[in-house]
């Protein structure tokens, strides 16, 4: 199923042959990235889809609020944080309907958050983090458990937006994340990259002395081993508390 053909069927918009590229605001986010490269192929290769197909975006009606343990460990521990372990996993009706479509359509991408910064990843990617991750060594397997976006070519599962009322909470609060039982994302630590030696010359006024400050930064390199969106059967098998509503 192609996103803009569904949209065209849903909105009954007729593209003239001269304007093969649909306007970008009509495309889902994934298609916006590649529309210049692939839009012509979409038009020629693919048959029209019936309009009864589900929409490409799957909103979660009730995002799980971010709860932080009182004494959160600063260092990466070897155990997952018990963010959602106590709460039952609630799947809404639309999610039950559309999650099989999403999980069946590979490959998946994920917007995983490491220290609150988002990284758009898919399987096989090499990610050079903008920092040196301490406490890990090459060969270790990390599991990313905070994500705000899961998607495939036609489907997107988003965490809801933050609806905080207090003014200071907007600045300091954590973004909303998807439940970490819905997906599995594994990355392997490949090694440590290093940037170039940067030498900065510091001077002060009315003095001939120059201070040379040298800095060389190191960056952890990760490779994405697996991005998997779990299906309904797997969730029913794995989760002890599952509420279907």
């Amino acid at each position: 199923m192609r996103p803009h053909s569904v949209l065209r069927a849903a909105l009954d918009i007729r593209w003239t042959p001269s304007s093969q590229i649909p306007p970008t605001f009509l495309l889902p986010w994934r298609a916006q990235l590649h529309q210049s490269a692939h839009s012509h192929q979409f038009q020629t290769e693919l048959p029209a889809q019936p309009s009864s197909q589900p929409p490409p975006s799957i909103p979660i009606p009730s995002p799980i609020p971010s709860t932080r343990p009182a004494a959160a460990p600063a260092s990466p521990s070897s155990m997952p944080l018990p963010r959602s372990s106590g709460k039952p996993l609630v799947l809404s009706k639309s999610l039950q309907q559309l999650l099989p479509h999403l999980s069946a359509q590979k490959p998946h991408y994920i917007s995983a958050h490491i220290h609150r910064f988002p990284y758009l990843l898919t399987q096989g990617d090499t990610l050079r983090l903008p920092f040196h991750m301490h406490g890990v060594s090459p060969g270790d397997v990390l599991r990313l458990n905070r994500a705000s976006l899961l998607g495939s070519r036609d489907y997107t599962l988003k965490a809801g937006t933050n609806s905080t009322e207090n003014y200071d909470g907007k600045r300091t609060g954590e973004p909303n994340y998807l439940d970490d039982r819905l997906f599995e994302c594994r990355v392997r630590v490949v090694g440590v990259d290093s940037g170039p030696m940067v030498e900065e010359i510091k001077t002060k006024r009315r003095q001939r002395k120059e201070k040379h400050v040298r800095s060389k930064h190191r960056y952890t390199v990760l490779r994405v081993m697996e991005v998997k969106v779990k299906g309904l059967e797997e969730l029913e098998r794995g989760a002890e508390q599952l509420i279907l509503q």
Binding site: S77, V141, L142
Partner: protein
Amino acid sequence: MSTQTYFRITLMRSAIGLPYKSTGVLKALGLRKRMATVFHPVTPAVAGQIMKVKELVAVREVERPLTKQEVHMERVPDPGFYIERRLGEEG
């Protein structure tokens, strides 16, 4: 009063350029710099102080005051990962 509640007061805007009385009220509340957070019990006196600087602060009513360390920990982001398997361990 059945349960004592507290104001959680955060200074969002500084009092630079305002009358000195505003600076004095902020000093009395214990707010020295922007984004600083203090806790005071809900009393008419504190409510009057907040009303004097209501354009500068964000106020929320909370059950218990947090320590300075806990306020700081609210700002520390979630790591977002954990080590599933070390090198050499069996999978």
